[in-house]
Symmetry: C2
């Protein structure tokens, strides 16, 4: 872990009691706290039930990228989990304050965590944790990815919303187990596949696929998270005259494509160099363009 | 919440640094802690990823029930999540110490929580939280239950173990969402149904069904938790000359049965009086017998 190196700047922790609106007792909506001290009670529902949501914002040379889309998605996750709506202005200010309080570093990872709160209290717990990002340089030059069954159909959002498809929850044990399975298979990451044969997303990333002049991602209606990165790239690709779309794709579509990437706010655009046992073309120039866009430098 | 009533005894919190074996620094394997103070760091993987497992032991008039089977299941969950094996003797002693430290009450709920620990640390976090149980008396006299799609097939344990079927994880956001959906439909609880049409379990309970002289529960191989309560009841039913079995059942099987229950260590045996729109016979005498067995009084 980068954060355990002695020369890594200390992380910053901001507690945000005003995350769902002004605290009733008149205290400040957020304040710095000691990240090395325990801050959470054992009866917080995020601890007892994984009952919460989150976002991770990438900050590059001090500039946070896609804060608006991340907060849009946090609000959407809150809606899907029937949590109180997050107070947007408070979170924007708190994210800025966390970045301001952190030592300047090239890449900062800012997690916004929002839980159902203490059992019986009925008010969310929220904090922001800013820390030096791990080094993903190798990941960004090409990765082997394996496909793994997600067990669910792409029709689940329509039929069974209580399965919380498309919500970025803190119940990520399956996502973590899938990551371990990928590593066991000698891959850096995995791509989830629905039971009806369509590719979905990575456990912590969005899929982007190139077929000739067309760039495609999985439709949100299939139960994936609305990607923040993919929208940034789509806007730029459209300006450059490419076609962009949300469309269901099979594993064969991806394996036979002209390039594919897993996108994330901190790992950025990771080209898939091999999907299961099929080599895929890697366009490092286009990947560099994506990286510039996703770090706010293009 | 019972715990917020002023005359409810204070909960007891025991931190268990020796949960995976003796702590390397020679400290005691467990110690009492202040349950009203924050005890967890924001970088514990149970908080950032829901990456942990748990058990809830019911304690009736001071006697914990099924501690062995609960610890067996905790060990199984740890294996499925690739967590270090819990140290059984330490946990047995810690459970006893938590019960001992709590004011005598008729029904105590003892949660054993076991997480992947702090990011980068590689050692589990464990604590035991003992508190007066909520009042489930009404629940135990008959409940309306609705069936809800679980989105997964009963073949998932065979094909896709990374989906963690049968592990009692702290990633329970879907279980909680299903509970809310059940309440929205005017039911007290729900029964999950697999995509291949077989009934599974409740979000926090095991299914038991009576058909004549035969009592049936869902096979563990279908992806449900191995129930601790159902084994207690099976042993007694067998002694009384009934047939008991693990067997796949459809919704129609349950709706047409001679009685069905949702079993849990704290709610005990809740007879299903209505499944979706079908009334089911409720045998209160047998339910009382189950209650006596599950509280260690038979």
């Amino acid at each position: 872990m980068t954060s355990s190196l002695p020369d890594t700047p200390a992380p910053v922790l901001l507690l945000v009691p005003g995350a769902a609106g002004a605290p009733s007792d008149g205290t400040a909506p957020f304040h710095l706290a000691d990240p090395t001290a325990p801050q959470l009670k054992v009866t917080d529902l995020v601890v007892t039930r994984g009952d919460g949501i989150f976002e991770t914002v990438g900050v590059f040379d001090g500039t946070p990228v896609n804060v608006g889309p991340h907060l849009d998605r946090l609000a959407r996750s809150a809606f899907l989990l029937e949590l109180p709506a997050p107070h947007r202005e408070t979170l924007v200010a708190a994210i800025d304050a966390a970045i301001e309080a952190h030592t300047d570093v090239a890449e900062l990872s800012v997690r916004i965590m929002y839980t159902r709160g203490l059992e019986g209290a009925g008010a969310p717990t929220c904090w922001i944790h800013a820390r030096t990002a791990d080094d993903w340089t190798a990941y960004r030059s090409g990765i082997r990815v394996v496909t793994l069954d997600r067990g669910l159909s792409t029709t689940v959002p329509e039929t069974s919303p209580w399965l919380l498809p498309g919500a970025k929850t803190l119940s990520y044990a399956v996502n973590m187990a899938a990551g371990r399975e990928a590593k066991r298979r000698g891959a850096a990451d995995c791509l989830f596949v629905a039971t009806d044969g369509y590719v979905l997303e990575g456990p912590t990333s969005t899929l982007l696929v190139r077929q000739g002049d067309t760039f495609t991602t999985t439709p949100v209606s299939a139960g994936v998270l609305p990607g923040t990165c993919v929208n940034t790239l789509f806007a730029d690709l459209q300006r450059a005259g490419h076609q962009v779309r949300e469309h269901l794709m099979t594993v064969a579509d991806v394996a036979g494509s002209d390039g594919a990437w897993l996108l994330s706010s901190t790992r950025l655009a990771a080209p898939i160099s091999q999907l299961d046992d099929t080599d895929l073309p890697v366009d490092l120039e286009l990947t560099k363009r994506f990286e510039a866009l996703l770090t706010g430098k293009a």
